[in-house]
Amino acid sequence: MTRRLLTGNGAAAWGARLAGVDYVPAFPITPQTEIIETLADWIDRGELAGRLVTLESEHSMITAAGAAAVTGVRVFSATSSQGLLYAMEMLYTVAGWRAPFVLVNVSRGLAAPITLEPDHNDILAARDSGFLQLHCATCQEVLDSVLLAYRLAEDERVRLPVIVNLDGFYLSFTREPVAIPEPEAARRFLPPFDPETNQFRASAPVSQAVAVLGGGPYSYFRYEMQLAAVNALTVYDEVAGDFAAAFGRTYAAVEDYQSHDAEVVFVMMGSFAIKAREAVDRLREAGWAVGLLRPRLLRPFPAGTFQRLLAGKRGVAVVDQNLSLGKGGVLYMELASALYGQPGAPPVLASFIGGLGGRDIGPEEFYAMARITRQAAEAGRAPPPRLLYTLEELREVRTLQAIAAVERRSLGETP
């Protein structure tokens, strides 16, 4: 197995290549564009036997992706942020078609204000759509997750599309060593696509994705999607087990870093969770009993795993790189609902929101979060949610506002 420096985007492209994808409907958007450029280049050189077609929008792109998947070919696509949202109607739609394919999302903060750097509001906006979600923290994990995602999507107990998420810039444009599986080994892990009833043939007429009127039938189809998504918890463990046996890398649904004897546990997704790992190491050196749980699988939500791993813990610091305006952090809400009323559930969950639009989270901030959570656990009362922001950052904004002629005293007066 060769090990090379690859960006996250490059790793995603390799995942698609090793999956032997047939069809790539594409549309460019920062910070994902390198993925489709790489695939287009390979196809032009004859290194990848697939077809890439640029659609005129992401809404059309996802429509074409789903349509090709229900016609019976293996499909790959990629987008980010505004593009994911532009396609939002179709994310729900193609999931309802039970179209099995893989979409890579390169996370990027959402407008407005429009920005280019990452956070998780885009991918989390899709959490109700019916797409399953895998969240990556390293470039290696990106490549591997694409292969895992196809096995998951195409399993007959699931048959739902899957999004593999990686952070823009911090993974998409960052090179790390990535072991690239041999094509033969990849093919053994991921056999060719079995379309099952996803087909259009002259001899077998089928009306797919038809309208359904009536709450009873509609509910049946939606509930079945839920059951399929929940099946994915079991299927994921099986597939991850197969992957570990084939390639020697283990990807549990929830990565458990030192939580077994921790009193305070960080819960965090994505590439910045690596920084939390580092903070755990430093805090442990300083005598703290801390750990980290990083969900890789977000949909379906691994509630049982969290209940088991957090039972008996004293405090949980949930770090959200997203913000549901008017409420707070999404991972925090998802975790709280999974733990409430469960035996041994930690009495204190603390919510921290940072990293929006690519904002860094410094080690001192991790230490502060750990301290606040521990103190709250001792006091037996959850602290109010904290939006991470420093005085220096505020001063910087004031300087910018001054240049933008936003004079606080004179606001409201004619200039």
Binding site: W97, R159, V206, Q208, A209, V210, P217, Y220, E224, A228
Partner: protein
């Protein structure tokens, strides 16, 4: 609370009937909830409207499961399962049908436990869908049956719910409503308010654990051709096209080509045949037949002739 359902076909004014009754109850100081229920707009297809009225705030929503009164504006709907005319009826439900047939005829036809009243079908108008005043008449009949709506309130409601109508047509509606109101005089108050079912009497909801099913079955996909023929859209028909084969000159099958639903087939001899299970009675064939060999007949008469 009074719980009342109106059943009719698109175009017969059931939504308006519900609104007239709702407005009349509202005028009399009741809390009201009225709503129509239909799929996409389809003239001739079954629709219903419902009205709830009570002295206290109404904490129910959605379709009425246990009606006190069911009003049927078009009796051809009664045998149509999709119309749901008899859904949720009990021996306390009053059934009022706008019909040419007598109550005992209906009692023989239906296994209906409660009182059956007839609103005599007012005119022998050929096309049932054209009976424009049946909405106001149904609302007025319902108002008399509940017994708490005096005529001036009902009349005011008719005027409120038909704004912008030509005065002559508005008056016609009021006249028809008055006739129906008077026709129900002997049964005034027959429809009573009923309380909601007590909680301890209600049956348990019969919940099941839905089993996981393979996506092959659990997707809205239809693995067969032309299953739509199972839907008897012929039941929409209020006028029936009938071919006079003596006049038919077996042209280039104008009727068969122009029938929007493809409900006219042509046999090997070139003679057209109308599929009455599916003909909606649009009468394009009648209008376009070059030798005028197709005539329109009232459906309820043609259907009656077919009875053994």
């Amino acid at each position: 609370m009074y719980r009342i359902r109106f059943h009719g076909r698109g175009g017969q004014g059931m939504k308006t009937a519900g609104r007239i009754l709702g407005a009349a109850f509202f005028q009399e100081g009741f809390e009201v909830q009225d709503a129509p229920r239909y799929g996409a707009e389809r003239r001739g297809a079954p629709i219903f409207a419902y009205v709830r009225a009570a002295r206290a705030p109404i904490n129910e929503r959605g379709v009425i499961r246990q009606p006190d009164l069911v009003v049927v504006a078009d009796d051809t709907l009664v045998p149509v399962p999709a119309a749901g005319v008899l859904a949720g009826v009990s021996e306390q439900t009053v059934l009022l049908i706008d019909s040419f047939d007598a109550p005992d005829v209906w009692r023989r036809r239906l296994n209906f436990p409660g009182p059956i009243l007839i609103l005599p079908a007012a005119e022998d108008v050929e096309d049932r869908a054209e009976r424009r005043y049946v909405g106001a008449a149904c609302a007025a009949a319902a108002a008399r049956l509940v017994g708490v709506i005096p005529w001036p309130a009902l009349a005011a409601a008719v005027r409120d719910e038909l704004p912008g109508f030509n005065p002559a047509i508005l008056q016609k509606n009021l006249d028809k409503a008055w006739d129906a109101y008077e026709q129900m005089a002997a049964h005034a108050g027959l429809v009573q308010e009923r309380p909601a079912m007590p909680a301890d009497v209600q049956q348990s909801p019969n919940w099941v654990e839905l089993p996981f099913e393979d996506a092959r079955f659990a997707t809205p996909a239809i693995y067969a051709a032309a299953t739509s023929v199972n839907v008897k859209t012929g039941l929409w028909r209020t006028l029936r096209p009938v071919i006079d084969y003596d006049r038919c000159n077996r042209c280039w099958w104008v009727c068969s080509t122009f029938c929007p639903d493809g409900a006219i087939s042509v046999d090997p001899d070139g003679a057209p045949h109308i599929d009455y299970d599916h003909c909606k009675g649009c009468l394009v064939c009648v209008a376009q037949c070059p030798p005028h060999a197709i005539a329109a007949a009232p459906e309820h008469l043609a259907a009656a002739e077919e009875q053994p």
